[in-house]
Symmetry: C2
Subunit: 392 residues, 2 copies
Amino acid sequence: MAQGIIRGVDGIYLDWAATAPPYPDLSRAAAELAVDLFGNPSSAHAAGRAAKTAFEEARKRLAKALGCAPGHVKFTSGGSEANAIVLLSLVYAASGGSVVISAIEHSAVYEQAMVLERFGIRVRVVKPGPAGIVRPGDVADAVDADTRLVSIMAVNNETGAIQPIGDIVSAVRDASKGFRKAPLVHSDAVQAFGKIGFKPAELCLDAASMSAHKLGGPRGSGCLYLARGLDVLVRGGGQEDGIRPGTHNLAGAWAFSQAAERACADLPASLENARSLEARLLDGLRSIPGARVLPDGRVPASTDYSPYIVGAAFPGLGGETLARVLDDQGIYVSTGAACSHAKKERRVMDAMGVDRDLSFSAVRISTGRDSTAADIDRFLEAAESAYRRYKT
Amino acid sequence: MAQGIIRGVDGIYLDWAATAPPYPDLSRAAAELAVDLFGNPSSAHAAGRAAKTAFEEARKRLAKALGCAPGHVKFTSGGSEANAIVLLSLVYAASGGSVVISAIEHSAVYEQAMVLERFGIRVRVVKPGPAGIVRPGDVADAVDADTRLVSIMAVNNETGAIQPIGDIVSAVRDASKGFRKAPLVHSDAVQAFGKIGFKPAELCLDAASMSAHKLGGPRGSGCLYLARGLDVLVRGGGQEDGIRPGTHNLAGAWAFSQAAERACADLPASLENARSLEARLLDGLRSIPGARVLPDGRVPASTDYSPYIVGAAFPGLGGETLARVLDDQGIYVSTGAACSHAKKERRVMDAMGVDRDLSFSAVRISTGRDSTAADIDRFLEAAESAYRRYKT
């Protein structure tokens, strides 16, 4: 990305997995829509109906991008809320039973799942292999007759590892044959939808969570794909078929649907660009003496990894330090999930069996629709120079 | 409001309690802010820090409008979510005990409270008097040693009745003296903040819920005032001191804070305008043969009612029918809360002891910053004519 293309940031933005810059034209058009169609979509009068019509058009547009029927899309305030709706529905329905998650889930699933233990719901945590990929067989082994929910993310936000969701769904269905009730299978797909392609219905998922701001839509918008109804814990005005209460955010839903449509239309070209940048980055990292790709065996164009996210380690130099040195030069990467940087937590890397020495020297480089080869080169140059200068 | 001032609606908008048209300049400026300061406020790098700085400025601005310290303001996706955070914190902490609410709460409190019964938490529902006002003594009587939460709204959304929150807080504190633990006192203030003035700290509340879109801010933004920490049920990335997970919605928070500042600055003038419209409306309603003000005894400029919200009944003509006839003429009123119109529910009116014949003939007229005497006159004229023509 050329410097200054993103206003407010004179630099190289390589943290698209934390958030994507919104499409400026959609942001502006949504602001006009909020003014023009200000009615509450739940109001019966013409001002409400006009807003409702636009809202339902947004739902249809988003459903098309997701490859599902509009009735299966419920708008939420974001990916975190979509995850919480699914996990907390267990608390509403009954106590007891178990849930199966992976050790590499985003905290919106992981921390929420841990709360379920207060309600007598056991949480079984499946570790990924050293490549950061969860094995369908391991998930199936963790499922038993009392399992009520399986939640495995589609793409890991730190390593880019694509989880075999289709195979996981099949394995869970097979494992739960003969059980009185099969578990709900859910996937947090915020790093997949609009990036690598993600169709929850094709994958036979029961539920999936999407976020607008990861693909160029606004903050504060997301959606939940639901194959069927759900008894939810959070109640109120009955919006979204009772799945998510609160006045509809028309501007947010509209911009999300437009951004999703655009991201999905541009997906082949974006992916091609991302793969070329991934190859450049992986090659470049391996040419820096001592630097490592995380996981080690990752090769360019592997279908096991999202090309938009690359983990790298610089043993002997703290990831936080490297990120700060790069930051001073206007190059923006992260050391993990944005929301966990303060916690100094390395849960994902630990689960993959990565040494703490290595994981604490890790940074995440993530690209997006506007990223360029020059961005990668600037990062590599600056990282190599910082590594040479500061490593202990 | 002159016709066409609100684009997309050629008509007379008298449903401001459902949602207020956003301030157009703030909507547009927020869209630019979302583009300029696109970083994730949780990111450590310069793009994140720039967004974080603006986010914290928004918190300070909003706190000033609320008359509290910035640390006591937690941004949410709206009033409903703020209510749910407080009510569901009980479920996190323990089962059992009781909560006290009024019979006239918005469904975001009422329906959510009913869910608490699944967790062994008894819900005591206090009825208002015939004027739609909850008596502090009745609330205090409902509180006992096992009461964990009292939640009474600040302004009723159907009648405009201002609840005596300060007196209710005192009465609850008195009633719970000597108890091992005093109940948390919360107020849903979405119809009060920025409209009649509302300072949760001055009222000695423990918690209060506010909504941006009720005062000219964007949909999808709200906040929770919290006097102290809370163990919440919904978990994730730890944002808002762990009170509300999910990527910060900077544009939403910014526009909310600006709209709140403006609404509070304009409050004396807005209130004066609203009181003059209220007087015109109450006089006009009483001059229509057979029409009634709900509640009957309401007089102009009474400090017991928000002047922005007036309930009226047209016995012998269904409220839904009247609203539809007015709608056809481009005059937009409602028959209750926007989100309950489909449910044909009259919970608030029932609780006040209003006859079903009367409550099913009720409409709500609600004004806002741009409402004019001409709007009221057009409504009165059209309502009188419709009533004469269609009443049975």
